[in-house]
Amino acid sequence: MTRIIVVTSGKGGVGKTTTSAAFAAGLASAGRRTAVIDFDVGLRSLDLIMGCERRVVYDFINVINGEAALKQALIKDKRIPGLFILPASQTRDKDALTTEGVERVLDELSEEFDYIICDSPAGIERGAYLAMYFADEAIVVTNPEVSSVRDSDRVLGLLASKTRRAERGEPSVRERLLVTRYAPSRVGKGEMLSVEDVQEILAIELLGVIPESTTVLNASNSGMPVILEARSDAGQAYQDAVARFLGEEREHRFLTEKKGLFGRLFGGSSA
């Protein structure tokens, strides 16, 4: 049974595409056939983050309009078997997305894939609405920052009312929180909302915490999903989050300040 996952946040720039790419790569690495769709029509970015921007021939809108077959538009990832990318159109606008068109593409993908990840655009307009409409599960990406948390709360309201599951009265979309750009040292100083604070306000299950890391920009510079940077904090945190998503129990890491050599020598209790 195919699961449709929306990666959403309301606010822009919090890490939706980074997360979509990481989860798609992580699920495919775990042997699940996975397709990831960019819903940001007009401002596509997933192709760059996945490093396949020069292989885009047809896009999501071409498929919706019947100008290309789904198989022609899907880009096969060169690193991980079973991972496919459906890029957004860069030239059309959001009105090109239709409910029926999106449903048709998702139905066709469902015949072949275990997971379909919908990378939502920022905002709560058409693209974001359609990215969440057919979802079974939602990953709500939130930065520990006031406007991001407020926007996430708004998005949770929409997930509970504006999705197909909500309209049909089916079991609700499973919502899970992913806190990104987390800086434990600043949390320690009282300068940043803690993950407990964010979770208390949003009141949903915590899927993972991704620490602020230089690796994320480095990975996007080279078109590599950050989860493949297996030795970095951020990469490992995404691996944990994907494992939890698949039902594994994993301790949350990277929630406290990393101690330097001095701290390790004299800090006492740190393991």
Binding site: E145, V146, D153, K189, G190, E191, L193, D197, E200
Partner: protein, 95 residues
């Protein structure tokens, strides 16, 4: 004491900025959840106009007017609370 001033009084003078962020979020998120949960969109305008009428006769602060829409059985209750300057509270119910 109103809901908001309850939170204000809890604020410590030297609270960290993260604590202020949390407090502000708790208030705004609670308010927006109420609004999204079926509050009709004419409520803010109605509140403004009612406030203008009240102000013709009594000088009250903008924040002294509170309006709430509740459901009582199959009946919707619009509750209007105006805190008068001298501290006595006037309450009117419109059905």
């Amino acid at each position: 004491m109103s809901f908001l001033s309850y939170f204000r009084s809890q604020r410590k003078k030297n609270a960290s900025s993260a604590a202020r962020a949390k407090e502000r979020l708790q208030i705004i998120v609670a308010r927006e959840r109420l609004q999204c949960a079926g509050g009709p969109d004419y409520l803010p305008m109605l509140q403004d106009e009612l406030l203008a009428v009240v102000r013709k006769y009594i000088q009250v602060d903008r924040n002294a007017v509170r309006m709430q829409l509740d459901q009582e059985g199959d009946c919707e209750v619009l509750e209007l609370n105006i805190t008068l300057p001298d501290g006595t509270e006037t309450s009117a119910r419109v059905r």
